[in-house]
Symmetry: C3
Subunit: 152 residues, 3 copies
């Protein structure tokens, strides 16, 4: 089945990525692997759920934020190879959660990214990942997600 | 020499990995590279040395924890390719230490992972790595280790 | 154009990497990809700008530190393949900033690494990256940069 059709069915839009504000790329393709830069939960240029999880941001909000990050990463992939139907496998998710030190809820937040990838790609969406707590993220974001994707 | 025999000689058991609690995989194999998800120092389902290094956890405990993480990562590799004797090279170790901000002891903790890999694999175990401090880790773990492994 | 010549023109010296103090390598080469270990802003064995960004270290200092990290990473690459002219593409930059939690300035700091790579390699230097805040870095460094480089 077409992954792009699947996203349509699920009512998800694939965003067009903004240009990075510095001397790097949204993603780099080498040897059929796309390395996607760390994505923030931006919607139409506006950062969703900024702050620190456990203080001003809830786990559920960070989960939603991680979903947005993953969808933005797919926007980068599509912009590079034309169609998500060329995705062979989501290889790895790098999950960063701006969180208080005592907290162990990073996995629950990053599940937002993992869930959306499996909803769209099924078996091809099952990835390796790490989920860690950070002391600060770009623009004061509560969550950031990087990705490695095998394409055909 | 057989890496599996070497582990036996060293008195190390290769654990059978638990199932991840969410929509991701313990590891993904593409193009003869295994991307192993971030591993915690779990022994028989019980998290060892939880807490923050520099507060409730010592450097030596985190070192031991990192050894366990690395062995658990090898458990993932074995479960995916049948035998550790198919390991060609440990390519990279991603080392995360839940630590107070002033501290610079992340390398000493992650040496636990590096040491155990070289004990088992010798030259093939010598890897690139990063070692960083995190603000929180899954389940309140003091240490987490991800890995990239080339197999044949 | 020769990347090594370009560095000369820019007045940059390619450092000879020190030996890691533990059982890992400065870099690992597999399948024409070099995974460079996390580099610190060391100059002649002395750590530049140690501390926490937002407390004892300024954004501008961390930017300079990240430039040094990137140049040190290139020293590792050269030591492994003889000449930077064999670089095909800087694939990915892993940027770590030891920063206070409220801060969102990680990108500005890591731009130091991104800028120097594009100054030297032009289009071939444009990479994917993540930039995150950490709670502690090796030796109390304010910044650390890892890298993945495609070579020919």
């Amino acid at each position: 089945m077409s992954f792009e059709k699947k996203m349509e069915e699920l009512g998800m839009k694939i965003p067009v990525p903004g240009k990075p504000a510095a001397a790097y790329e949204p993603g780099v393709l080498v040897d059929n692997m796309i390395y996607v830069s760390g994505q923030l939960p931006m919607v139409d240029g506006s950062l969703q759920f900024p702050g620190v999880v456990g203080e001003t941001v809830t786990e559920e909000q960070a989960y939603q934020g991680a979903r947005i990050c993953a969808i933005n990463a797919l926007g980068v992939v599509k912009s590079m190879i034309g169609s998500l139907d060329r995705v062979e496998r989501i290889v790895k998710v790098e999950g960063f959660v701006n969180s208080v030190q005592e907290a162990g809820y990073q996995p629950k937040c990053i599940n937002g990214a993992s869930d959306v990838l499996v909803e769209i790609f099924g078996e091809a969406g099952k990835h390796a990942r790490f989920a860690i707590g950070t002391s600060g993220l770009p623009l004061g974001s509560s969550v950031e997600v990087g990705m490695i994707v095998k394409v055909k």
